[in-house]
Symmetry: C2
Subunit: 253 residues, 2 copies
């Protein structure tokens, strides 16, 4: 008698507005608990779900990756449809795939892309209000782009780490920090940050720092000083959670 133990990789999207983040917490709604409950109702299994990383309360995902081990023999397509039928309308599974034996969504992640969404207008956003940070003072995108250049590459990003985490190294490599502008009146400013790993609150610290430059409080070159200082107190404030979206996570084939 053999069981069909399989490793699976789920690609999950969620609107984080109504969740206390990814990670399970007693008596708080979390994405992990919501997904585990849906899984259980389809397969009868209490799964151990491992995400590429925790997302904080209010942070959204288009392509969070979640790994699990299952004995269920349901085909991937059935699992996908079943989960989406059970999940609430603010959580969605976009793909269910077989993963290599021993797959670990956190440790095996090679690269991630985060997008931070700003609504830059005197007038507050309406339909986007859950997904964009409202910055009412005018931002200079060219300055923000000039500042962002300093962040690309392998650096010690200690200046952007909110204290309380226990990582041994604060060195990470960012392969892209791009500031783009869109919307009918240029009011949408999106900051995309791609890297091999992220410290706690790192993207929100980067965005808060770039906005200091964008509103003219600092020169673009200030960002080089911030990096060199390796001190969280030197950088700008963290941008709020609700503008942040985890777009995708890359793994080795």
């Amino acid at each position: 008698m053999s069981t069909t133990r399989r490793w699976l990789k789920l690609t999950v999207a969620y609107d984080g507005t109504n969740y206390a983040g990814w990670q399970f917490q007693p008596s708080e709604p979390t994405v992990q608990a919501t997904l585990a409950e849906a899984w259980c109702s389809i397969t009868g299994e209490q799964p151990t779900l491992t995400a590429s990383g925790r997302t904080d309360a209010g942070v959204h995902a288009l392509g969070q990756v979640v790994g699990l081990v299952t004995n269920s023999e349901l085909p991937a397509e059935r699992l996908l449809q079943g989960l989406n039928a059970k999940l609430p309308d603010d959580v969605m599974v976009r793909a269910v795939e077989t993963a290599p034996d021993g797959f670990h969504a956190t440790h095996d992640a090679l690269k991630k892309l985060y997008r931070y969404q700003i609504h830059n207008s005197r007038v507050r956003p309406l339909f986007d209000r859950r997904y964009r940070w409202h910055v009412p003072h005018e931002l200079d995108v060219a300055s923000m782009q000039a500042a962002a250049v300093h962040l690309v590459g392998r650096h010690d990003f200690a200046c952007f780490e909110t204290t309380g985490s226990e990582r041994s190294s604060t060195v990470r490599t960012l392969t892209k920090v791009e500031v783009g502008q869109g919307g009918a009146a240029g009011e949408q400013i999106d900051i995309e940050v791609e890297g091999d790993g992220f410290l706690y609150n790192m993207v929100r610290g980067i965005v808060g720092t770039l906005v200091e430059v964008g509103r003219g409080a600092r020169e673009p070159n200030w960002v080089a000083e911030v990096l060199a200082a390796r001190d969280r107190r030197v950088a700008g404030p963290n941008a709020p959670a609700h503008g942040l979206v985890l777009v995708w996570v890359e793994y080795a084939e």
Copy 2:
């Protein structure tokens, strides 16, 4: 002693999700009551607010126009800022302007544009779920465009009027019925309908009818028969409210 009685024109945007429509109803949240309350808290006046037209429960607006008469001497800019400070985050005043004496937002409207937003994908929408109708079966946009052509012009639109209204004539002129496609995978189908007036549920009836054609249940020419029948039972079902947006209303200068 003279009072400064003025007519004002407010351009108002709202997310209709949490409202029982524009029109005041006892013990139900409505956009009209919400806006009246904000006005009262700024000026002390209990205003009579007249909109270009009622929007149903769940229908959104980017540019609803609301008229009122006021004795307040506050400048337009102060009213705009004051109202937006008082309004909840799902209602917003985009402009406050002086209107001609006797301005009536309903009767003086010359033209309106509605946009109906569809999410056409097997997978349900996530971030757009409050603003797009999820149509899971594939829609043929070219057929819908061919069908839409029949609707442009001056016609008796009785076939698209939900019963219960008391209008004397069901003849209206549509100057545009456009079916567009967007989104990363073409999943966003937007139907724009511009006209000099609309019967009750007319746009939702048009959209439900075009979707019958798009999914292949009917040929594009069927729409000409529907129009000619002048019978609501012949047309397709009404599309749901939450995909509908009142984009703008035009008045004579």
